[in-house]
Each structure stands twice: as structure tokens, then as C-alpha cells.
Symmetry: C2
Subunit: 649 residues, 2 copies
């Protein structure tokens, strides 16, 4: 909210009078309206307009009012002044105007053709956020919350498919959109709407990458409410979360792709450098995010010293959790990596390890805090999108480009979902049915991330055209597809029958307690990639015991000669609490993995969440081979954990 808080006029001598308040008040008012509307809709079980759609609608109306009702031209603001003495723009500029020195702060570089947009309505200018607000303040809590709420065994079971959709799918989508848009741009040049030099193929790819970030928040909310099949939910949610990270890094890599000679010709060296950039930034951000989470886990787990455990001070614990997670974002940014990606993986890791160490109070506090921040940030962004349609001053509406984008987005989504699903089904024991594929195709909404990526750079005319188009795509997909989710579910007959389920119950509980009508009745028989299995074994044997109170004691998993170290590092609770293994519902009995921790593998491991244990009865052999890579056998050994669990609780 940087920009809204400035003092607006030099003449305004009253330092106590806070000008930005009016603009913030407008946002507050819109958000309050949105909340009241959601409440109304929830009462009437009206599902055609999600809160984000509502926020956008109110923003739109308010933008219209501000645009056409307020008119207060600020004459000075549009004039360009010459300054011969300066060679480059300094950070702070001190200017002597009629014997009084004023301090000016550098904001940005403006293209000559945009100068006009800065004339005129001050109110419109004031209602325009600094684009960095989105990336630095509003997106991080949304993305962190997505990662933090991803702790679902369904996610890990579908990991292979989710990773395929997220990485391969986003790349396909980016290239397809880029190619189609390049075709449209060529056509526009042909009919004289554009000049050749304005729009390179890399610009088209840039547009492709930013339009590849899907955000089916509306669809997921309805899925949640209607208790739609868990695997479909997990596939969509997992894809959208990881896909954001991929799209952000991809956009960055493309934007720094700089071929040496002709920008239209393919430069292999520059291309491989971009690929290298992508991998480096992604891996670096991943490492940064997860290492902060590991540090948090270690601190919250400190039992080696004589200290009272941190969990006895829930406020400090929550504060530390919040600050360390935020530091993950900031460190990544400071190191030139992508903070959003870091914060996503920080969230996932925090949920996986740290969450288990937190006190019950802190578990709830952190969950509610991030849920609340996510709610506010999301609605602010969607409100702002509505506003931006009328208050943003450099829109370039090009019907052909917009139509092209519409076509491109759908073709790209189709060439992402259908071929990949086909490939995945070759390897998956439990196939992804046609109806699910259609639903995933339908759920390719665009949202906050696409918008934030588009608004980050609106200096040149191609970028402005992209921004306008991206904004319209968000409107279209959120309202049309978001609104059409319920009918679509009915039409595809995916909608599961809900009988007597408390609407406010946790999704996990509900999801697990009902069967998926369209898939194999036995939902535990899911896929599990070989890669995942190796990771799982390592995690269960070494990381979990080291970082949390759960899992088998290190003394039993590490080789014997490590015993002194293992004893030092193992939580005293781990010995007694072997039965309380948090989210580990099944134990891998793979040939290579059983040797070392047989002692613990045969202990019945009841799940902490009642949901899992209700269905966790008996043993199941699960044949899997995600991506067609495996022929391994994964044995899930479930315990009849209910009685033990109760005795522990």
C-alpha cells in the first residue's frame, strides 16, 4: 500500500492529516462489502459467484465511479522537466524550488509514449498500487498458505502426476500460447495493427509463461464445499500450486533471455543459458525455502538443552514461525532468487516437519493466521483487478490480440491436460478418468499470479497490451468458468452425493470418509512414484526423527556405529511415541528399505487424523509405476489403529 500513503500535496501543511486514508478506506469498504456478500451467498447456498468474483465485481464498479465521477486534473504532474546536469537518475533528488528544497524519491523509468498517461486525474493515480506490492506483500501469504495447507497424503500419492502437470504441462502451455500468439502477432503486423519490431517471439513466450499460471481458487472452493472427489481436488490443487512457481521462474528466465544478435533468431547459447537460469533459480529457491523451514523445525524441536521447550510460549513460537518463513522469502529475493518459490517450499516443509513440533495452540494460531492473511490478500488482489480495469491509465485494448489470447489459452490448456493425462494413465494403476480430464481442462482459470506477473512490467506498449489482455482473461475465466463449475460438475456427473456432512468440517476428514464414485472404490490404492518412494524412506528414517518427534528413533534407523550421535539427536519422546507417527499412514515395506528399521516398520502406526485410520484397516499391496518408470512393489501396511490411537489421545 506504499503508494497510497504518501503525502499528496506540498501545499498540505498539516502533517497530521493523513491523505492516503481515503484510498485505503475505499479498499476497506470494498472488502467489507465483499464479506457481507459472501455471507449472503453462503446463506443461500448460491455458488455462481465466488468471493473473488464478487470482490472483482465491486472493484469494477468502484473503478467506474472513480474514473467518471472524480475529476481533478493535476497540471504540474504531466509536464516533463529537462535536467542537463544529471547523467543518470539518482535515488533521491533534491530540488530547489523558489528557495525551498524538496526531496523526491526515484520511482521508475517511463517510456516517452506513457508520459500522457501520467497527466490528469490524481485520484486515479492514487488508486494505483506500486506493482511490487503484489509480489512483495500480497502474493507471499497466498502462496505460503497454499504450501502450508498442502499437507495431504493424497498429494504425496499423486506427486508424480502433479509434478508432470506442473513442470511439463506449464512448459507445453507456455510454448503453445507463445506460438499461437506469435501467429496472431504476425497477422496483426500483416494488417498493419502492429509494427514488426515491437513484438518479438520472446515477448510472445513471455506472455505464454505468464498466462500459464493457473489459479482455480474459485473451482477449488466449490469442490471443497461440495465434497468433490479427493483425487481430483488434489490433482488440481497440487498442479495449480506448483504451476505458479514454475510459471514465475519461467517468466523470469524468459525475460532475461538475451540472444546476442537478432532477437528473432534462435540462439542456442542464450536458450541453454535460460534453461540453466530456470533450473538454477528453481533449485536455489527450493533450497532456500526448505532450509529456513528446517531451521524452524530444529528450533521448535530443541530438546537437547535444558531449556523449556519453545512450544510452552505459543506467542513466541508463532512469531518465530512467521518471521522465519518471511525470512525465507526475503533471503531468496536478496540472493536474486525467486521469493515466491522459496516461500512455497518453505510452506510445504513447515507443514511436513515443523507443524508436528508445534504446540496445539501454535498449530491453530499459525493455521488461522495464514488462513486470515491469505483471505485478505486474495480479496485485495481481486478487488484491485476490478479497479485496475478503469483506473490503470495505459490500457491498450486490441480485440485481435485478446481473441488470440482466448484461443491460445484454451488450446494450450487442452494440449497440456489431455496428452499428459494419456501418458500418465499409461503408468498409473488408477487411471485419471475422462470426466476428470474434462474438469481439469475446464478449471484452467487465471488469477492473482498471472495478474501480478503482467502488472510487474507495463513500460512498453507490447507489455501494456499483454497486461490488458491478461486482466480480461482473468475476468472472463473467473466469472464464466468459476460460475459454471457447479453446472459442469453436474453435467460430468462428478459431483459426489453429500449426506449429512457438516459443511464446516475439515476437508481432509470429509474427503477421506467418502469414496470416489468414479474411481476405484479403494482410494488408498493410488500411485506412488519410485522417486517418491526413495524419498519417503529417507524422510521417514532420517529426516522425520531428526526434525520432529515422530518416526522411529534414529538409534534404530542409523547404522550401529552412529549410535552415540543418534542417541544424542533423538527426541526422548521418539522412543515412547513411536506409535504417534503424525501423518505417516502407511509404511513402505520395499525390499531395499525394510532392512534398517524393521523394528519400527512392524509396529502398528495409527494415524493421528481419525479420518485416515477409519479406512486404514488391513494390508494392501499396491502396484505402482508412475510415469511408466517403475515396476517396484509398494506395500502399504495399515494398522487397525483405532483402539491404540484412542488410548494415546
Amino acid at each position: 500500500m506504499e503508494k497510497l500513503k504518501k503525502y499528496v500535496s506540498v501545499e498540505d501543511e498539516d502533517h497530521f492529516y493523513h491523505q492516503g486514508a481515503v484510498e485505503l478506506l475505499i479498499f476497506n469498504f470494498l472488502l467489507i462489502l465483499t464479506i457481507l456478500t459472501i455471507w449472503l451467498f453462503k446463506n443461500h447456498r448460491f455458488r455462481f459467484l465466488h468471493e473473488t468474483g464478487g470482490a472483482m465485481l465491486y472493484g469494477l464498479v468502484m473503478g467506474l465511479i472513480i474514473r467518471y465521477v472524480t475529476k481533478s486534473p493535476d497540471v504540474e504532474s504531466g509536464t516533463v522537466y529537462e535536467c542537463e546536469k544529471l547523467k543518470s537518475g539518482p535515488t533521491t533528488l533534491l530540488i530547489n524550488i523558489t528557495n525551498q528544497v524538496y526531496e523526491y524519491q526515484y520511482k521508475r523509468e517511463i517510456s516517452q509514449h506513457n508520459v500522457n498517461g501520467h497527466q490528469g486525474n490524481t485520484m486515479l493515480q492514487k488508486m494505483t498500487f506500486d506493482p511490487s506490492i503484489f509480489f512483495n506483500i500480497l502474493l507471499p501469504p497466498i502462496i505460503f498458505h497454499a504450501g502450508y495447507s498442502l499437507k495431504k497424503r493424497h498429494f504425496f500419492r499423486n506427486l508424480g502426476s502433479i509434478l508432470t502437470y506442473a513442470f511439463l504441462g506449464t512448459a507445453i502451455s507456455c510454448i503453445v500460447i507463445g506460438l499461437i500468439m506469435y501467429g496472431f502477432v504476425k497477422a496483426m503486423v500483416h494488417i498493419g495493427q502492429l509494427k514488426q519490431w515491437e513484438f518479438h517471439f520472446t515477448d510472445c513466450l513471455f506472455f505464454g509463461s505468464l498466462m500459464s499460471a493457473t489459479d482455480p481458487v474459485t473451482v477449488l472452493a466449490i469442490f471443497h464445499e461440495l465434497n468433490v472427489d479427493t483425487d481430483l481436488y488434489t490433482l488440481l490443487f497440487g498442479e495449480s500450486v506448483l504451476n505458479d512457481a514454475v510459471a514465475i521462474v519461467l517468466t523470469h528466465s524468459i525475460s532475461i533471455y538475451s540472444p546476442k544478435e537478432n532477437p528473432n533468431a534462435f540462439d542456442a547459447a542464450a536458450f541453454f543459458q535460460s534453461v540453466g537460469n530456470f533450473l538454477g533459480i528453481f533449485a536455489g529457491s527450493f533450497a532456500m525455502g526448505s532450509s529456513y523451514a528446517v531451521v524452524t523445525a530444529l528450533i521448535s524441536f530443541m530438546h537437547l538443552t535444558k531449556f523449556t521447550k519453545l512450544c510452552e510460549f505459543p506467542m513466541l513460537e508463532t512469531g518465530l514461525f512467521f518471521l522465519l518463513s518471511w525470512s525465507a522469502f526475503l533471503s531468496a529475493e536478496a540472493a536474486g532468487l525467486t521469493g515466491i518459490v522459496a516461500v512455497l517450499f518453505c510452506g510445504v516443509t513447515q507443514a511436513h516437519y515443523t507443524y508436528n513440533n508445534l504446540s496445539a495452540d501454535s498449530k491453530m494460531r499459525t493455521k488461522q493466521l495464514f488462513e486470515f492473511m491469505n483471505f485478505l490478500a486474495e480479496n485485495v488482489i481481486f478487488c484491485y483487478m476490478g479497479l485496475a480495469l478503469f483506473t490503470f491509465q495505459n490500457h491498450i485494448f486490441n480485440p485481435l490480440f485478446i481473441f488470440g489470447a482466448l484461443v491460445a489459452v484454451f488450446v494450450a490448456r487442452a494440449s497440456n491436460i489431455y496428452p499428459l493425462s494419456f501418458l500418465l494413465n499409461l503408468g498409473r494403476k488408477q487411471k485419471i478418468p475422462r470426466t476428470f480430464q474434462h474438469m481439469m481442462m475446464f478449471s484452467g482459470l487465471r488469477g492473482a499470479v498471472a495478474f501480478a506477473l503482467a502488472i510487474r512490467d507495463t513500460d512498453s506498449q507490447p507489455k501494456q497490451m499483454m497486461f490488458t489482455t491478461a486482466l480480461l482473461m482473468v475476468f472472463f475465466t473467473v466469472w464464466v468458468f468459476g460460475g459454471g463449475t457447479t453446472p459442469m460438475l453436474t453435467w460430468l456427473q462428478i459431483r459426489s452425493v453429500v449426506v449429512g456432512v457438516d459443511p464446516d468440517e475439515d476437508l481432509k476428514t470429509r474427503a477421506a470418509s467418502q469414496s470416489a464414485p468414479n474411481m476405484d472404490k479403494n482410494t488408498t490404492k493410488a500411485e506412488s512414484a519410485w522417486l517418491f518412494r526413495i524419498w519417503y524412506g529417507f524422510d521417514h528414517k532420517y529426516l522425520k526423527p531428526l526434525l520432529t518427534h515422530t518416526g522411529p528413533p534414529l538409534t534404530s534407523t542409523l547404522p550401529e556405529w552412529c549410535n552415540p550421535v543418534a542417541r544424542l539427536l533423538t527426541s526422548p519422546r521418539a522412543y515412547g511415541d513411536q506409535l504417534k507417527d503424525g501423518d505417516t499412514v502407511y509404511i513402505i515395506n520395499n525390499d531395499e528399505l525394510t532392512e534398517n528399521y524393521e523394528s519400527s516398520a512392524h509396529i502398528a502406526v495409527p494415524a493421528q487424523d481419525s479420518t485416515a485410520s477409519t479406512q486404514a484397516t488391513g494390508k494392501e499391496d499396491i502396484q505402482e509405476g508412475d510415469l511408466g518408470l517403475g515396476g517396484y512393489k509398494l506395500q502399504l501396511q495399515h494398522s487397525a489403529g483405532q483402539p491404540q490411537k484412542n488410548s494415546l489421545a
Copy 2:
């Protein structure tokens, strides 16, 4: 954190590289260090350094490092450029530098003599917040939290004394400091350290008003931890909360005091205008804050319609609560009133009415949310204070002025506490003992509000001198008096013996469950102002039933002809839930007030908090006469509420 998020250099072409991250990371690091230190201290029951003191210390060390380790002079930044074409400074300045237009944003006016301070170290500049950050972002949650946690029957029982200390006491303190400082300034002019025209009497009063805002957060935390006498806690806490509001409005009124002729001569018209301003702004802010809270109460209470109550959606409820409370702040600012005062009274009113309507989940969510925000904001401010000692570029250290301030602050505190306590004791049945007065004298710490008031205006040299002095006073009082609290309590023998009390138990519970050794054993025999009693009757009869589910039904309190309206407005729960009257521990049986709601007045009213009901046995007649104004009889009728309460719960 406005300033930290700017792009720092024009040459920095990578839009994705987020420069401000480093500075925010420094703050995060300091806060994490602070949290870990608090944790350490809590483990060792070390009470000589409070978290705020620790944060300040770490800030100081970091400031020292930044000041003397980093050196990166930015040559351009110190130069003043001439611009003949401009008549006044526009909001946005577009400058053409070597054929590239740059946008600059207006920041502030700079006095000629401060220009030098803007040269040199960029890192120091980057570590300097925009002063408006404190008032618009960091202070509101702190003040709201204070108001929101003020819901204590002890507060209302001591209301008269608290108001006296807050209003009369702050005024006395302001005038005394102003006079003493004026004396010191005269002396400084005499010995040639200052020029006569630089420092008016109004400047001294300005300093007096900003130094009158006490902030005994350190002391109160120790009181809380050691379970010190509740009445002493309430007097101190209540005084410090209201005193902030008074000091802020007072500072504002003095700053806009503008006598027509000689600024040193007394101008009656201007003086009365200032007094009028004070009263107007205070009353206006009060009205603004409480009306937003009333709106929140009404919305959260909506039971008239067929809607599901809002409390079934805790997230929406919390969001609405947060946004409406924030709107109170913003509306007050937008209307030219004082947002901080509005948000304080909004907090008090929210606690008094809305809190009762919230679902159990939202009660906890809002409490924890504001507690968390308060914790973060407080530590950020104290961290920043430490930093500012070395990073702020325009310090003016004047030993005589600092010594004068030290003397003035103590004389002012003494002439506030002792005479007022004497006067109050004339009227109070339950006297404020000498030891308490000494402790209150001792607890006159300065903190966040004084700092925020001082940093808001540092343009002129007198203001810079005031800022430096205020900063040092905060350091001195927080470290010396904060650290000396525990020995002082022991020395004054106020410290109550704590036997087997859980350190994390709620203060209220503990406070009520033990007796105050130095006062009348029967702590319920406290004062109650006549004004309070009238208000209480009105509140209990009309407002509580109208705005919450508690209290007697309106049908029994309103005159008979109002019955149709009353029936419409009364919550259906009010009839059945008459016994569940939230925080009403006693019922006024005053002659004038009994008539209308006798039906409810004789119903036993058990307290919801177990604490109150444990001591609430039997009837007590309490003679009161706060301020010597009353001769009324207040009968507190306590119920033996325990069994009923249990059956309800």
C-alpha cells in the same frame, strides 16, 4: 516499510531483483534474535531486561555496525538541483535525463541545513523508515490491542481515578515539562548555545506533550508475570492507555496553536482555539471509533433476519471485525481527526459489546490476531529505536537539553502522581497507598508513542534536538526503570507472594484469585464514580441488550409503550440467557436505577469468568465518592453463581 521497498538505483535493470529485501531481512533477523533472547530469559526467569529492551539493544548494535562498517557514498544524492520553471513541488515529477524520462515521487520538504544529512551513506538512508509508518501502520495495532484487552471490571471500578490521571495528569505533566524546558532553553540562550528565535515556549510545550505519553509496557509485563496487585496494575495500565490518546491529541493541538502576533506572547484567542481543537478532536475521534464498533456489534448480532448468524463463519467474522476496526482508524484520519484515538476507543467498545456476540472461535481468533500484531509492531518499533540512534542522520545531541529533559520528566511525573493521588484519596473509600504512588511514579517510562510523536516532525533544528532527547529518554527509562522494576517492587514490598500459579494462566484469573496485601483485603470494595454509575445503568439497560446477547431483555427495560419495538430488537437468546450476562459481575441497585429492570436485577448473575464468581459471594455495600463528587450508595449484589454457571456451561 514503505521506504525500504523502493528500487534503489536506476542502473539496476533487473526488475526481479528486490533491493529492499536486505533491509527487511535485517529487521527480521533482529526480531528473531529478540524472540530467542526472550525465550532464554523466560527460561531463566531473568526479569531485568524486557523483550522491548532487548529489541532496542539489538537494534543499537545493528545500527552501530551499519553506521561504521558499511560505507557506500552515493554522490548524486546530496546535490541540490535548481528548477526555475516550477512554482511549487508537484506530487509526481517527470524528469528528462539524457533522453530518458524518470518518474520521481514527492517525499518531503527539507530545511536547507538538513541537506548535508542526505549525503553519504545509502545504507543509512535505506534503514530509515518514513515517519508516517509509525503512526499509520505500527501504532494502530498496539493501541487497538491495549483497548481490546482493557475489558476488566477493575478498569471500570477505577475509572474515575484513571480518567483523572490520564487527563489532568497529562495536562499537568505537559505544562510542567514545558515550563522547566523553557527555563533550560533560556539558560542555553544565555550561555550562547541557542539562538533566541529558535525555541519558543510553544516548542517547549510541544516537547512537554510528547514526553507526557507514558508507556510502561516493561513494567506491566513484570506485574503480569509476578501477579502484582490488580488495582495497581489497572491504575497503571488504564492511565498509560488513555494517556497516550490524550498526549497525541494534545501534541496535535499545540502544534496547530498559532498566535497571530508574537509567538512568545500569550494569545487568549489562539489558546482557547487550541483547547477547543483538543476537545473537538478528542470527542470526534471517540465518536468515530465507538460508532464503528457499534456497527460491528450490530452486524455480528444480526438475528432479526432469516440469515445464519455471521458467527457460523469465524473467518468472515474475524475479517469483518478487523476491517471495520481498521476503517475506524482510516475514517478518523480521513476526517482530519486522530486515528489512534479512534482505534483505541474502537477497541474498548469492541471488547465491551462485539466481543460478547462473537463465536468462541472468533473470540480466540481476534484476541490472538491482535496479540500477535501487537507483539510484532511493538518489537519492530523498539528495534527501530535502537537502530535510529546510529542511523538517523540529523541527531542534535545537546547535553544541557538532555539533562533538562531528564529533570523535567521526573519533576513532571512527581507533580502528576502525588498531588492527584492525594486529591483522589480524599474521595476514594479505598485509598491509593503510598507504596503504590511510589511505584506509579517509578513506572513513568517513555516508549513507542513518545518516539512516534517525536519522529513525526524532524525538519527544524529544535525538533531534531527534541527527537534526539526523546530517544535517549526512552533508552534511559526502559533500561534503567524497566530493569529496576523487580528490585523496586521488592523494596516497596508490593510484590505479592506467588504460590503454585501457572505462569501462563490468564492474568485476570490470577489477579482475582489472590488478595492485595497492602490494600483493603476486600478488593471488590473499590471506588465507582457517580458518572460511571449513570453510564453503567444506561449501558446495562439499553445498550447491552440492544447490541449483544447479554443483559436483561429490552422488553423489560424500556417503557411499556415501546414494547413492540423492544420485542423486535431483543435477541431471542436474551430471554433464555439472562443468566449468562458476560462481564457484568455486579448489579447496581441504585435508587434511581432499580425501578425499570427490577425483574432482572434480582436474578442472580453469575460471571462467565470463574475468577469473579469465586470471590463473588454475598452482598457488599460499597460507599463511594470518587473525586469527592458522590454520596451515592452503590450496592453490589453478588450471586453465589458457581452452580448455575456450571449448569449453563
